[in-house]
């Protein structure tokens, strides 16, 4: 028996208040099984070309994955997609937590929102009952206040709330979304798209268990139990449970790959003050998790002796506000994290936009007369915290920084763009591409702008005897390659790893679940899909799901005028790192562009323009999309 569900999608037009439900066929869902795959289909087929991010016609798509909410650790993810106000490319930001599984429990694969409400509203979805309710009292509130008010109004403390914050209300281009105050669709400014639609939140409560829709519920439950038992026996998941992502500070700093002072350097002289042992001593009070996940990688922290309402900083946040801004006071960094989450700013873009401004300041492009009197140098924690407040509220200099580093650089001028570490307008995450070339390729090619989750990182595949390398064999990676290489073999591995990660995104797996990054062997990943669906898919089928999704996002960007010129890294990464183990290392630009051309070619894209060929699109079942774009 196939899956016992009718694959419902909820459509809401905020302009008219019209609410509709549509059913997808199982054959359709097999091609587009959730996440970016499903979102990509609608964005390509229904959204008019040249729709501006803040237009009512911009689609806001919240898509869970095929496995989201299954009784299998790390199947918690969902995507929020639309056109990004930060990049003007496809916007797509994923998160874990509890909201995605709750949406599935309410019986929906996705929600598609169009239009703009006249006044602030929030949605209340309780199984099949859907209401548009006033959010006028919620506007201007911190996320913690808004969540408490929604739960009180609905009389249910277990309602799962996905919401934008004050930053999104103020159309900060990198405003994000949070669910349960601890899980974030941080990237791409999807919180600002909420704000532009006068949509404060989507509250969900559902009662349908995943096991009611699974093809083989007993088999899936047994697999989930087996995997939960493996968490503490696998060094990769053990590390995530024990330290969480903050455990990355020490090894990355030692390896010369801890972004420091706006990516000028790869090692931070005060890394001992911010590494895991210090975090554990100064901040940690508890560990938490996402829906039904045995990994438990989330941290709870105290600030000024009080438990934070928002959870603790992840590695990305920690590095963005510490080494990247030259700051070593963990309490300042925890406060920065709390401010971002209370106002709902993407902490990566916020940290890298502030580090951009610090470099502009130190080089005399701006002065205290521009920064509202703040001495915005690297290392000034008070100035950094003040800038976060100003960005969220678009006050003073914060109004310029709220545009993101690329647009802010254009306003500042005088060569400021050289200090903006971004791709397609999105700020670069906390992984040094001069030490991991495929990560750099992922930054450059990612359809959503710089993103560190495009491929598993190069350093996992240098050692042929290591556990991550051995686990990648089933995917077709059998030859160890140096991290600082873009050989033809390395480019081939990029394509496999990109399609694998894209598949994970589509079906709802967290990056920390499946091997090679995670503890779940590829055989068990495949088994989980087939037990849930009865589809009898192969690895090649899974990789094709991922590749199809990548190509749809690519087509969206091609339609909106993006070219191969947008698939490149900032100048800084073609220049030498100033310190650390990789001092003097740089990426050769010509070599990078040659590898990119080769990658385009093996993707079935034109090697010069990077536009997918009709032949490849037809192989992926995307001939209709090619017709739509007149390819």
């Amino acid at each position: 028996m196939p899956m016992k569900t009718d694959f419902k999608v909820l459509r809401i037009d905020l302009t008219t208040g019209n609410i509709q439900t549509e059913m997808l066929s199982e054959d359709f869902y097999k091609l587009y099984p959730g996440g970016k795959a499903l979102a990509g289909y609608y964005l390509l087929n229904e959204m008019p070309a040249n729709t501006e991010p803040y237009d009512p016609e911009n689609m806001l798509i919240m898509a869970a994955g095929l496995l989201t909410g299954a009784p299998v650790s790390t199947t918690t993810r969902y995507v929020v997609a639309g056109r990004s106000p930060l990049t003007y490319a496809v916007g797509s930001s994923e998160a874990g937590g509890f909201w995605g599984p709750e949406l599935k429990q309410a019986g929906y694969e996705a929600i598609i929102i169009t239009g703009r409400a006249e006044k602030p509203v929030y949605l209340w979805i309780k199984d099949q009952a859907v209401e548009i309710r006033s959010a006028e009292d919620l506007w201007g509130r911190t996320t913690a206040e808004a969540q408490a008010m929604i739960r009180e109004e609905l009389g249910d403390a277990m309602v799962r709330v996905l919401q934008t914050g004050i930053a999104g209300e103020n159309l900060v281009r990198f405003a994000g979304l949070t669910n349960d105050l601890r899980h974030f669709n941080g990237r791409n400014g999807m919180g600002a798209v909420f704000g532009a639609k006068n949509l404060k939140a989507v509250a969900v409560r559902g009662t349908r268990r995943y096991q009611e829709i699974a093809h083989d519920p007993d088999g899936l439950r047994e697999l989930g139990r087996k995997l939960a038992r493996q968490v503490r026996d696998n060094p990769l998941s053990w590390e995530l449970q024990n330290r969480g992502t903050p455990g990355l500070i020490e090894p990355l700093n030692t390896s010369g790959m801890l972004p420091t002072r706006n990516f000028r350097q790869g090692a931070f002289e005060k890394a001992d003050d911010i590494k895991w042992e210090a975090y554990e001593k100064e901040l940690l009070i508890a560990r938490r998790t996402c829906f039904a996940c045995a990994v438990r990688c989330k941290r709870e922290v105290q600030i000024d002796g009080k438990p934070s309402e928002y959870g603790g900083p992840e590695y990305e946040t920690l590095a963005a506000f510490s080494s990247n801004c030259g700051i070593s006071d963990l309490h300042v960094i925890a406060k920065a994290n709390e401010l971002c989450n209370a106002y709902m700013l993407d902490s990566i873009s916020t940290g890298v936009t502030i580090s951009f401004a610090m470099e502009c300041y130190e080089n005399g492009l701006i002065g205290p007369e521009d920064t509202d009197g703040f001495d915005l140098r690297f290392g000034n924690g008070d100035a950094m915290l003040a800038m976060i407040e100003k960005i969220a509220k678009r006050e003073g200099f914060g109004d310029i920084l709220a545009e993101g580093s690329k647009l802010a650089a254009e306003k500042i001028g005088n060569g400021a763009l050289d200090y903006a570490q971004q791709v397609k307008g999105q700020e670069i995450p906390m992984h040094e591409p001069r030490g991991k070339y495929n990560v750099g390729m992922g930054y450059a090619l990612s359809e959503i702008g710089a993103d560190h989750l495009v491929v598993a990182h190069d350093t996992m595949f240098e050692n042929p005897d290591s556990l991550p390398f051995r686990n990648a064999a089933l995917l077709g990676i059998t030859q160890a390659e140096p991290a600082r290489s873009l050989s033809d073999e390395k480019v081939r591995q990029y394509l496999i790893l990109e399609n694998w990660n894209s598949f994970e995104n589509a079906v709802g797996y967290c990056f920390f679940g499946p091997a090679p990054r995670g503890f779940i062997h590829p055989d068990d990943v495949l088994a989980s899909v087939n037990l849930a669906t009865g589809w009898d898919l192969t690895f090649d089928d899974l990789l094709e799901i991922g590749e199809r999704a990548v190509n749809m996002y690519r087509l969206f960007n091609v339609r909106e005028g993006f070219t191969s010129k947008d698939d490149d890294l900032p100048k800084r990464f073609y220049e030498a790192l100033e310190n650390g183990l990789l001092k003097g290392e740089l990426i050769d630009h010509d070599m990078f562009l040659a590898a990119r051309a080769h990658l385009y070619q093996i993707k079935g894209w034109d090697p010069e323009t990077g536009i997918p060929t009709r032949a490849r699109l037809e192989t992926l079942g995307l001939g209709g999309a090619a017709d739509l774009l007149n390819f």
Binding site: P235, Y315, S466, R517
Partner: protein, 76 residues
């Protein structure tokens, strides 16, 4: 001799703590010491001996040395 097993290599140490102290009778091969502690040498990607990068193969350690070892590190 102080060994710091970073990243997921901490998983393999006694008590799963990153720091392991040993009093050594004389110079010993680092690879043999790791085997004795229970850390698979196959998982070690970076070795720093007293602040300098060294190759695991052929490296000897002795009392007063500080050794840091790391696996290949991904992101997240």
């Amino acid at each position: 001799m102080l060994l710091y097993a970073g990243g997921y290599l901490t998983f393999y140490t006694p008590d799963q703590k990153p720091e392991v102290e040993r009093v050594l009778p004389g110079p010993v091969a680092l690879r043999d010491l790791l085997t004795e502690i229970g850390i698979p040498a196959a998982e070690v990607q970076l070795v720093i001996l007293n602040g300098e990068i060294v190759d695991l193969n052929g490296t000897q350690v002795q009392n007063l040395d500080v050794v840091k070892i790391f696996p290949g590190v991904d992101g997240g």
